[in-house]
């Protein structure tokens, strides 16, 4: 034991880091901060280290070239011992990291930890969030499958909406005229060199500030932050009711961190790696690109925005949101810390969480996306064909063959872009059906030039049968009781 100590002393005389380490380890933190609510940040850091390690390992095999990236991922998945597992750990680590950074941020916001003198902890934190999301997005690109390819197309299309300098920006983003090798290399550079360097550097600063300014004390309702008195109050608190960080506070961080890492390992083992999905060949046009989970809300937002708001909101929205986030500590740098006395803040968090949650849910459903194979792949429910005439059956074929099913559902299956048509006959009279089919409207294309009169007649005679049993189909008042369509139904002859 004594010999060990001697070695340490010998080393420290030359390295001179022992004092700093000791200071970091044994600095006093408020007893109240040794809480299970204060463990998210350290776990996010732990995941960052996991990502660095697994990332370096994956880079041993991955080839950042447009022609070989996908193949090298196949090799990782299938040919290299446990290559798939490392990919899975890296992928799940990324998901957990984004989630933990968000939770950490929410906790910091609700506990008022961004207030004086910790404003720059928050500001660096906002950038750490952006860099984390940047890593998640660029990582998805490196997966270089069909989704990544068309996802880059979406990115380029958004960039192309920037006024005046749109074209040069698109070329800068893609590294050339099209999505190809130079694009992938660019994102490889970002994912492997630039963002990790910024992330690690900023994490260092973030941690140093936590150390020097002290961890936020547990907020007590009514204990207000004042610039003149806070520093002394905090010092008093730490002296009066403080504990050394090691071991009194750190054990919770370690236990939680181990649980998170364990969860990543289990998720990776059970659910496996993400993709890669289809090969990135642009000539395969049977593609329906979807973003990864944490970007689904953007996908939903882009679909739900009215067209006239789209460009301004896409271009200005992010700047406004980031600016607002950065300004938070400067707008309310003093005053109440406890979330119990900050209803507006709690409400903001709730609204943001519910909005993002709802948009993500929508993004998973994607009701605005047509089901591209719906017309040929989704059978007409049997009950809608039972007892139908020859003409009505032809109408059902017209319904399928003209791709109506891609946007309209029957029996819960089909596109959700247009209304479900299971009871359309109760809403529209045959005349109105004809008008709607021919002229379109309400986000439906006009089929006037694309359907023959026979097709329209058959289609409408089929649609007119779509009403719940026992509910009469809609009819014009003036013609009530008259059979409007020569449906060929036995009962009418």
């Amino acid at each position: 034991m004594k010999r060990l100590q001697k070695i340490f002393e010998w080393l420290d005389q030359r390295l001179k880091i022992g004092a700093a380490v000791r200071e970091a380890m044994y600095h006093r933190v408020p007893r109240s901060s040794g809480s299970w609510f204060y463990v998210f940040g350290s776990s996010a850091f732990l995941l960052l280290l996991l990502q660095v390690v697994t990332g370096i390992l994956l880079a041993l095999v991955y080839v950042p070239s447009a022609s070989q990236a996908w193949n090298s991922l196949q090799v990782l998945n299938h040919d290299i011992t446990l290559g798939w597992y490392l990919r899975a750990v890296h992928g799940w680590g990324s998901n957990f990291m984004v989630a933990l950074v968000l939770i950490h941020m929410m906790q910091v916001f609700l506990f008022g930890a961004y207030k004086y003198p910790r404003e720059f902890n928050w500001v660096t934190g906002v950038f750490l969030l952006l860099f984390t999301l940047g890593m998640a997005f660029t990582g998805q690109v490196l997966r270089f499958d069909q989704d990544a390819y068309w996802g880059l197309g979406i990115g380029a299309s958004i960039t192309g909406r920037v006024p005046l300098i749109g074209a040069p920006l698109v070329h800068l983003l893609l590294g050339g005229p099209i999505i190809a090798s130079d694009t992938l290399s660019r994102f490889f550079d970002l994912h492997v060199f630039i963002i990790p360097a910024l992330l690690l550097g900023l994490v260092g600063i973030h941690l140093l500030m936590v150390l020097k300014l002290g961890i936020n004390e547990w907020p007590m309702p009514g204990r207000l932050v004042r610039r003149e008195t806070y520093l002394k109050e905090y010092e008093d608190l730490v002296q009066r009711d403080g504990v050394p960080f090691v071991p009194d506070a750190i054990w919770k961080d370690m236990v939680f961190g181990a649980m998170i890492l364990g969860s990543v390992l289990v998720c990776a083992a059970v659910f496996g790696p993400f993709g890669p999905r289809g090969v990135p060949d642009p000539t395969i046009i049977q593609a329906a690109p979807r973003p990864d989970f944490f970007f689904l809300w953007i996908f939903a937002l882009l679909a739900l925005l009215p067209p006239y708001m789209e460009t301004p909101l896409i271009l200005i929205g992010p700047i406004v949101v980031i600016a607002l986030l950065l300004l938070v500590p400067f707008l309310s740098g003093e005053g109440e810390k406890s979330w119990r006395r900050r209803p507006v803040s709690v409400l903001t968090v709730l609204v943001v969480a519910v909005t993002l949650g709802a948009l993500t849910r929508f993004g998973q459903e994607a009701p605005w996306s047509p089901v591209m194979n719906g017309w040929s792949g989704l059978p007409v429910p049997a009950q809608y064909l039972k007892g139908r005439s020859a003409l009505q059956r032809q109408g059902a074929i017209v319904f399928q063959e003209k791709q109506c099913r891609n946007c309209h559902s029957l029996g819960g299956e089909g596109g959700k872009r247009g209304p479900a048509l299971d009871s359309v006959a109760t809403r529209l009279t045959p005349d109105e059906l004809i008008r709607q089919v021919l002229q379109g409207g309400g986000n439906m294309p006009a089929y006037g030039h694309n359907l023959s009169p026979a097709e329209v007649t058959a289609l409408v005679s089929f649609l007119d049968t779509l009403h719940p049993p026992g509910v009469r189909p809609a009819r014009d008042f003036a013609e009530k009781g008259l059979p409007l369509l020569d449906t060929g139904h036995p009962a009418k002859h």
Binding site: S65, I154, L172, P177, A303, W375, Q403, G415, G440
Partner: protein
Amino acid sequence: MTENVSRRAALLKLGVLLNALVAVILAIPVVGYLFSAVERKHRYTGWVSLGPLAEFPAGQTRLAKFTNPQRRPWDGKTADIPCWVRNIDTQTFQVFAINCTHLGCPVRWFPQSQLFMCPCHGGVYYADGARAAGPPPRGLFQYRYRIQKGQLMIKAGELPTLATCGAIEPIGEKS
């Protein structure tokens, strides 16, 4: 003493100045290199063949593909770009970009309903490329074309977006 201080301050300034000078000189190649991807003088676009005219029957719209004129040897399949060719009357053609004008997803042609549909956000276009429904801000992007020795040629070379459709013209204009 004061003389010494001012002298040291001047030497420090000299040091800063020299480094600033070197930084500027270094910045020139760095910036030039970084911005080399920005197109100058339309070097990205050129005429490429989509194949013999016989591959595009009159009155129909068919998928065609070409190899991008500007490419790297290691681009692999990503240099193969698809597009839709509409043969109106054997003399007149329309060549549409595959990318939806909304956010660039690949539109698919459905000959049965004579519509292009986009799988991402449900943009729909008519056979002539005009916007029919959904979020797209305009009709499909069209390539310039010409017929040369029985081959259908188009002027292509860059991913069309609302900003980069230099070789591409708005719907309705004749080439």
